[in-house]
């Protein structure tokens, strides 16, 4: 089980950077995963995708904590950077879902 990352002591800006960092690591691994699949290294491709899921889970945890804080009445400090960080998270999540489905599809077709 992945440890939950504490946001304590981090500035709003650093929280955004944490979101981009973990989403960004996932993004790179997802693309590398497809590249490995292309080279017929299927196990390596699956390993990378799994790692990407773990990175995304860390990013999601951070985001979830922010949403919870807001639900508890703490007004979030909004910035373009924070919205940009959310863009990173959401686009990488969709990318992961799609790539996961594609790899399964390729596998069943012996592609």
């Amino acid at each position: 089980m992945m440890e939950q990352q504490s946001l304590e002591g981090l500035t709003e800006e650093q929280i955004s950077f944490q979101l981009i960092l973990h989403s960004g690591n996932a993004r790179s691994k997802i693309i590398e995963s497809v590249r490995k699949y292309r080279e017929r290294q299927i196990e390596e491709a699956e390993r990378l995708l799994k790692e990407a899921e773990q990175d995304l889970s860390v990013a999601h945890q951070i985001h979830f904590q922010l949403v919870q804080e807001e639900a508890n009445g703490k007004q979030p400090a909004f910035s373009l950077l924070m919205m940009h960080a959310e863009d990173h998270l959401m686009s990488t999540l969709s990318m992961k879902e799609l790539v996961k489905e594609l790899l399964e599809l390729f596998k069943t077709r012996n592609f």
Binding site: S16, R27, R35, H84
Partner: protein
């Protein structure tokens, strides 16, 4: 004059890092030109740089960019993750200097 190019997918997060790195360089009384670009501009801009640092969301492009950077004999590396995650301008600046020293 040290010329440091930062690149990330849209050039947004690294723009903020640039500001912090410039502030640190100024504090150290060092002359440095530091700028950020998006992923598509990285190859075009690197000829003007002494070192290229890329964001974690672009690390899958590292070998491709390194190949391009060979033309200019400059290093390309992924920004240290701890430094990036804390938006630590000083650490990233020091990483850039270290890469330049190793090369020369």
């Amino acid at each position: 004059m040290k010329k440091i190019l930062l690149a990330c997918s849209s050039g947004m997060s690294t723009s903020l890092l640039v500001t912090k790195m410039q502030a640190y360089a100024k504090q150290m009384d060092e002359e440095a030109e530091i700028w950020a670009v998006g992923q598509d501009q990285a190859k075009k801009e690197m000829e003007k740089a002494d070192v290229v640092l890329i964001g974690p969301q672009m690390s899958f492009l590292k070998s491709e960019l390194q190949k391009e950077a060979q033309k200019y004999g400059i290093p390309v590396e992924v920004i240290d993750m701890v430094a990036y995650g804390l938006a630590d301008g000083q650490k990233v600046y020091e990483q850039a200097l270290k890469l330049m020293e190793e090369r020369s």
